[in-house]
Symmetry: C2
Subunit: 385 residues, 2 copies
């Protein structure tokens, strides 16, 4: 079966995009990806849309995007797994190519998050937790992750300063990413002086809702080599695992079991290991989530995540640079677009096109995209020859 390569990438500005509908956001990213691939739109045989439609006025998102991108009558479908919807779209497109059905597929993560009011958004988000036994009692996303943080602090001595250091790093790199929502550096002191959200979290521990889109064009080996010669980035491992929605049913709260399982699959498929990963994009919806990811992905031992960021091991120059585009924290989190945005950064890094954020010698990269509170996790491994 064919290898699958990335031949084009595109990314729009994340933020409050009241200037654009969801299909216009999709077009911004798609146009750049088609230009980058150097192909004609007509060569695209299908599209897969990553989005969570319930935050949009417009439903049937795949249909409206497909029409606006002028891709009719090509097939299109949408994948939804909460905040991992973009990675599910990439994995599905990869399968479409591997199975021989399509040769060139556009993946578009696109999301409006600012059309609804904040109370409407919060009510919807609560329902991504388990509604029968948990969210009816007031669990919210910050509250779930705050429990994970409390458990990690208690078990491993992880500190508030270490969490704040995650935010400081991600703002540092976000300030150097023109597509990011927040482009200003912060300090640990400023983070720890911000408003409380859900103990132990303060404002700077939390990512922000945003509108935005990103696009990836995937192709079979033959088409990829035809389009980009030797400058192809290959998607060699696509891992996916699930875990219970109910945190009550989890063995512990200091890891996301779906992340470890998905990483194991992706490493095995790609014939690689954690130590080979030169650059990673992980799902830092809250600062503790990035610390859990270091551990779940094997970048450091269990319980060492706090010390990993404290020692700057996830900066460029450290053991495994992580979220050097700003992560969800600084870029903003348009939930359907996030997984595709992660892939966009890894491809840029593996091509050596990341400018002042470039990780030297990056040849293998990873994305880690969590849905909900870890009921889904997708881990993908990219490689350049």
């Amino acid at each position: 079966m064919t290898r699958v390569g990335v031949i084009g990438i595109g990314h729009g500005r994340f933020g409050r995009r009241s200037d654009a509908t969801v299909q216009e956001l999709a077009f911004e990213a798609f146009r750049l990806a088609v230009q980058d691939a150097g192909i004609e739109r007509q060569q695209i045989e299908a599209s897969v849309i990553g989005a969570v439609p319930e935050y949009h006025k417009q439903r049937s998102v795949a249909g409206v995007v497909q029409e606006y991108l002028n891709l009719n009558p090509a097939p299109t479908w949408l994948t939804e797994v909460a905040c991992a919807s973009g990675s599910a779209a990439i994995r599905t497109a990869w399968m479409a190519i591997r199975s021989g059905v399509h040769q060139v597929v556009a993946v578009i993560g696109c999301q409006k998050m600012t059309e609804l009011s904040t109370p409407e958004i919060l009510a919807l988000m609560g329902r991504v937790g388990e509604v029968q036994w948990e969210s009816v009692y007031g669990t919210t996303f910050p509250a779930y992750y705050a429990m994970f943080a409390q458990a990690h602090m208690k078990k491993f001595g992880t500190t508030r300063e270490q969490m704040a250091q995650v935010a400081v790093k991600n703002h540092y790199y976000g300030a150097r990413n023109p597509n990011a929502l927040f482009r200003k550096e912060i300090t640990v002191k400023k983070a720890l002086a911000s408003e409380p959200v859900a103990s132990p979290f303060q404002v700077y521990d939390c990512c922000a809702n945003a509108d935005g889109a990103a696009c990836l064009i995937l192709a079979s080996e033959e088409r990829a080599r035809a389009a980009r010669k030797d400058k192809v980035v290959w998607l060699d491992g696509v891992g996916c695992a699930s875990a219970s929605m109910s945190v009550l049913k989890r063995a512990d709260l200091v890891s996301l079991p779906s992340a470890g399982a998905a990483a194991g699959q992706a490493y095995a498929m790609a014939g690689t290991a954690a130590k080979d990963i030169k650059v990673a994009e992980v799902h830092d919806c809250f600062t503790i989530a990035e610390i859990l990811a270091y551990e779940d992905l094997g970048f450091c031992a269990k319980g060492e995540g706090g010390r990993f960021i404290e020692g700057k091991q996830s900066y460029v120059g450290g053991a495994t640079p992580v979220n050097v585009d700003g992560g969800l924290k600084a870029k903003g989190h348009p939930i359907g677009a996030t997984g595709v945005s992660m892939a966009h950064e890894i491809v840029k890094q593996l091509r050596g096109e990341a400018g002042e954020r470039q990780v030297p010698g990056a040849d293998v990269g990873l994305t880690h995209n969590v849905g909900g509170i870890g009921q889904y996790c997708f881990v993908h491994v990219y490689r350049r020859d």
Copy 2:
């Protein structure tokens, strides 16, 4: 690459299911499918969920279903393309197996439609049309299809009686399907005396919202033969096409261009043609939609659909029996479940297990599942050896 076979099917009762949550509906169908396949739950390597989450109180539907079916940590993801979501799930699962990633995949179409109030449902449904230029002016689903009906009546002389005959047929077979919402026969006279909805439609031209679930277990050729020996039904063609959301941009209103394109793909993949189809399940959300399907799928010539039903050509014993389980009209239309329910009936027919609704000698069958107003269409061809 491997052929993909259906090894298990399950179907719950469609209707107002206030007795069950979405995950409980999923379990009803899943349990039957696992029993039917004669495998252990642990052999299922992944699940794909077909659902439209916005009609549910519970979001993150794939996560809550995966947990309730005790399938963690296996991968799961959800596909959404409006009323064709179930068929998108089947096509995606097919790709997952063909690409060599998974060997055995459960596809679960599950939908709650009765948790929200009727005004809430109608408002949501309107937004599945194009919100920027169309639904703001009051287009609704019945109104869109009523335009198609008016155009067909004007161009081809299709009559109200012919449309009513579609409803009469589907109620006739629904009365013989224990999973159907409406299990009573009707007459043309009764249909034409029912309340008006959107001219020319009356109540009996329209399908009804329902809760429900259906399940299909797909497997690679090796696993399929191991599970069922020679009694495998094969999914040999998976077609999918899109069309503009805006009806303003369609060349005409007397066909769904996505249906013809998807059928062409499916026939080519399966090495078959319309004349070989012995039994079909088509998307009769409104009576005119079944008439359009006869023509778009090539069961009769363009414009002949009205005469096709008038001559009882879509009854058992006719040229191509259609919706002999009652169709959306009599079964009810739990939108995410409908595509999987169609596949369930075709598999039963090809196995010769459809009882008094059995089409004699059925060896090749087809499903035709439309999303929205034809912005998506999936056509799948099934065959027994």
